[in-house]
Symmetry: none
Subunit: 238 residues, 2 copies
Amino acid sequence: MPQYVGVEKVRLLVVDDDPPIADLVATVARYEGWEAVTAYTGEDALRRAADFHPDIVVLDLMLPGVDGFGVLDRLRASGTMVPVVFLTARDGVADRVAGLTRGGDDYLVKPFAVEELMARLRTVLRRSAGPSFQRSVLRVGDLTMDEDTREVRRGARLLSLTPTEYEVLRYLLRKSPTVLTKAQILDHVWEYGFGGRSNVVELVVSRLRRKLDESGDGAAPLIHTVRGFGYVLRQAAE
Amino acid sequence: MPQYVGVEKVRLLVVDDDPPIADLVATVARYEGWEAVTAYTGEDALRRAADFHPDIVVLDLMLPGVDGFGVLDRLRASGTMVPVVFLTARDGVADRVAGLTRGGDDYLVKPFAVEELMARLRTVLRRSAGPSFQRSVLRVGDLTMDEDTREVRRGARLLSLTPTEYEVLRYLLRKSPTVLTKAQILDHVWEYGFGGRSNVVELVVSRLRRKLDESGDGAAPLIHTVRGFGYVLRQAAE
DNA sequence: GGGGAGCTGTCGGGAAGCTGTCGCCCGACT
DNA sequence: AGTCGGGCGACAGCTTCCCGACAGCTCCCC
């Protein structure tokens, strides 16, 4: 499985006053092999930051007490340059956040999809690692995905994917050659709280297949159905 | 027997208000060499978690009193990051669960098959163990089963199994070289409460044998009948 | 702010594959 | 030689999957 960020365990601090959300993020991160710690208040966040020394912070801006900006200011005041990825409500303070996202920082609007959050965290870490960071390119067979340029190619042919298709394909790529259930794909790629208990995943996979394989030259299919279980992305079943 | 998670005994807490279900799970886990403790109420669950320090929790969401979510919140509030596998009724709170399971935790719909639950528990444990988890591959003779890719091979030949066949074979593999009765196989691989007191097991074994041994080169049979008792998977009968 | 283009998800029909029942045959043990 | 458990062909009902058609939505451009 592609490993993005060094060999060390990444240390992540998650700050959100909504425990399920904080816990969700922490759990996903651990699932990726990171170390994660949560804080539900601004004060707690500062305390944790002081003794946990995170490599990256996920910070909700809507905190009771000391709000997200306050936490950020105090973090910076204490001299740490740890990169931060902000979480904000949709119609919230997007403009003010935008001003803060220079450097290695970034932000995401709630509700978000966990794969997207993890992708951004990886990107931010990669960039903050130094000026000489290398491109992140996922590859399976003759299919490549450049996560910086968002270019996806089958061989030399450039594919034009919609955002959803891109996310599903990225997840399949990252997990290849593991077989994923539709529920896993739905849970990781769609926003938490998405109700659709439907066949969206099937549909997106169907559209992806068409784009991946459309060239007349009969390229071998890359996305395989494991009937009764899910989908895999990999070369040649046998 | 393949061992999935370290050398220590896994400590499992099972929380379900239906004692037969909780006990069923606990019994199976103990049979696997784990330590298992049950709780039938939310309050009891929290108490047990506090002094038993489980490595993993099976948590029914439909609890009287403090419900599953409440238990989870309080567990997290007390700082424990123990992974959880949820149980839910079919058309129940599936959406709310989804929000919680996008992490590395997992969930299962009742009624479930015991082997499937154990498989998921092992997977969750494996992944939460750290970034360096390795593939889980079961092997007996020249038969291999990769639990991540779901690839099953006899030698180099790739087999194509249906979900039921896959589950039965996995159970036989995991228990090899123990002889299993048809009742054991039925009880572990089929959902509890399955009515078919029939010859389904024979039938699936029959189909499996054909697929395992079909190659013209007369590979030695791997599934052996112990007449009047059951089946074993192992090389060379004696 | 009106119109258009593209994206996303719902519905539903049709095809393919999977599962369990029936029942006959066979081989093993008595 | 008889009895009984096991093997397995055939089949029917059901589940799963695929994908065409369409409608609501968003975003962008004029």
